[in-house]
Symmetry: C2
Subunit: 433 residues, 2 copies
């Protein structure tokens, strides 16, 4: 029986994380991790709902809320089936509203809002299927996956035919990797130790705790003070030894030539990657930096606005690690496009996570990537930050520094009712004083 | 005496232009030309105010209004002097709000909103100086101009020192060109004849009217149906003869390789440029198209999100015409950066206009470019569309297909009180049925 989306509820949820400087870096000095939180109500007798969110940093979350309202007419009154039978067509409709698209196009606020809405539809779809998203995707045929993908403006890099060929490569062995993932999980790295707001002592202590918890990859923030960065890199490298991986993240603080200069004294600590060395819009800049700082790899993606930027980063050999974001890109459909382009160009996908809800989301995407696309874990790892998971109904499960595949139906992004009430801005209890 | 900005009023103004299909093209099929309209009130005894707007296409304008509210704390309570004494610093503060920037960064809704706010500050500043914006800029020293420019993320293409050198090149002859402009005006072209929503007969008639009015450059929209495009191009070329210029505008409709194919049968009509052949985010795609369709030039800019994209388009030899937009870029400061980069790379600036208020804005920018930067009119021309000018207090003045320099103080963007009331969405009379 067809089910119809009868209501779109949008809530402004904010966590006052700036009070403790969790999540501080060279650019994001005081984020209040926030979510534009979408609930799709349906006419299903079971009370079936879909949930989605887009992550923001606090102020301005209300602008994203307004943007979801501007886009919601594309789902309101639609049946789930009318969407999923032409999922790419739905994606194009929602991102191509003839008036709203001027506000992007396909970037910034309206794209973040589209991500919340589109992911909520995917959550609804997966719940209806009784499977977690990763399993919904893994069980699709190559043709079904490709039918979800918006190819507009990327066919010079990836055609539907090429995407199908990539998906066929490892199709017959999917079930082996699915079993492997269910048993062992997907490898992760931690960013919890390296925030700029922490003292040297706190960094050292957190790295030691991370080692004790089984982490093998550690990421530090850089870019505010070069001497600080050198000192902290020395501490972390000393603690983790020569073989574990150290990553650095500049959060876009540098101009192109500054990035190249700043990394020179940091090279001795053998960073595996330098993340966001400059503007996320600067494809040519990343390419120049990548060429110059090699063998340090360049990573970026959390602020890359859409598949067209990722396409160019790949075409220009500008990145060694492709950091997809689950809601900066407009939902699962566009992420699939980027995962398949990365596969074509041979660049590993290492999803961005943290914030609020991003770990919950991206585990599904990485599992799909491994099981159905890449069939490799080499140089692949998901970010993990241990903030705010307690607010989710289906929390991420970590074991020995690995994400264990979620088994509950949906996209793992439903938040607890009491958390939503407590942290709703501006009237929830958390915001009352 | 210092004046303080005491209030920021934001209004949602929409013109129901979709009812007549004015402004229809392959992508923007039914725009309601709209403005997020900002008024800065001050404590000046004279009642001095500043006005700014950002242009949108209708639905979603309320999202831009919300974004101005999210950014307004960066001007509210500030003195005008505290802003203008470090104009680049002000620009960086408004575009780098540590929480709001996640929603861009520097693109889409929050950048459009920043444009409205920043341009309102420039309008206030110019009124205080008693000069139109173009004259304020022309009267600045090279050092003063450069102090307005945000160089973040573009110093690999243009340093402050290089910008000063460019401004010094033609400094001594500025007054000659100022006199020339005051007498003859800045050349323009018209887009009014070539909208997709018009019949062949209407196109022919409008071209004839355009010729009678003295126009020498005509732009047509393309990309919905190739046979239609060929037929219309033939009509326009037949009417305008072999020497006048015909431009084509695809409004981003094509993938990269489609653009190349589609232009093949159109080449015989000798288009001067093909505008927006593909995604505005696709620097490498534009470069490939430019290389292939030459000698047809590639033009883009109205949807180019910020100076970093323009920087790359110039670095990659992707454009022959640089179409700055007065509010897609975040106000005068960022436009100055692009004008100077274009000068360094030797690419003529041909501002995008039309919509509502864009002609009023860009005439100032082109006058500055000619008088203080390029000192050339070769291949330089401002778009002109004869819609909606009647709503402005200081309307553009055209003569023989040229913009005559505005003489009233400010940025020419103040709208009439009765127009604001009539077209305010959703409660103005224009929207009541």
């Amino acid at each position: 029986m067809a089910i119809t989306i009868t209501n779109v509820i949008v809530r402004d949820i904010r966590f006052p994380t700036s009070r403790t400087l969790d999540g501080s870096d060279a650019v994001n000095v005081d984020p209040d991790y926030s979510a534009t939180y979408v609930t799709l109500e349906t006419d299903a007798a079971s009370g079936l709902r879909g949930y989605g969110l887009t992550f923001t940093c606090g102020r301005g979350n209300e602008v994203c809320v307004a943007a979801v309202h501007a886009l919601k007419r594309q789902v309101l009154g639609s049946t789930l089936e009318s969407i999923t039978e032409d999922f790419a067509g739905f994606w194009l409709r929602i991102t191509s509203d003839s008036q709203v698209r001027w506000l992007g196009p396909e970037k910034g606020v309206i794209h973040l809002a589209a991500g919340a809405l589109i992911n909520a539809v995917w959550d609804l779809y997966a719940r209806r299927e009784g499977k977690p998203i990763w399993k919904v995707l893994v069980d699709m045929t190559p043709e079904q996956v490709v039918a979800c993908i918006p190819f507009r403006h990327i066919t010079d890099a990836l055609t539907p035919r090429e995407a199908i060929e990539i998906l066929r490569r490892n199709e017959l062995t999917k079930s082996d990797r699915e079993k492997e993932m269910l048993a062992a999980g997907y490898p992760a790295y931690t960013t919890s130790a390296g925030w700029l707001g922490y003292s040297d002592e706190k960094v050292r202590q957190l790295v030691r705790e991370g080692l004790a918890d089984g982490w093998s990859h550690f990421k530090m923030k850089v870019g505010r003070d070069q001497a600080d960065d050198v000192r902290r890199a020395a501490i972390i490298r000393e603690e983790i030894g020569p073989d574990r991986k150290l990553m650095m993240d500049a959060n876009q603080i540098w101009d192109v030539d500054d990035a190249i200069e700043w990394m020179k004294p940091l090279a001795e600590f053998k960073p595996w990657w330098i993340e966001e060395p400059t503007s996320p819009d600067d494809v040519l800049g990343h390419a120049k930096i990548a060429k110059t700082v090699a063998p340090i790899g360049v990573a970026t993606g959390e602020a890359c606005q859409n598949r067209v930027i990722f396409k160019q980063l790949l075409q220009a050999n500008a990145i060694s690690f492709c950091q997809i974001d689950s809601c900066r890109l407009a939902g699962v459909n566009e992420v699939l496009a980027v995962i398949l382009m990365a596969a074509k160009f041979g660049v590993p996908v290492c999803p961005h996570a943290g914030g609020v809800g991003l770990c919950e989301y991206v585990q599904h995407l990485a599992l799909f990537d491994y099981i159905a696309v890449s069939a490799s874990l080499e140089n692949r790892i998901i970010e993990y930050v241990d903030h705010l998971h307690e607010h989710f109904v289906y929390q991420v499960k970590m074991k020995d520094g690995r994400y264990l595949p979620p088994l509950d139906p949906g996209y793992s992004i439903e938040m607890k009712a009491e958390s939503l009430d407590y942290y709703e801005f501006p009237n929830g209890e958390a915001w009352r004083d």
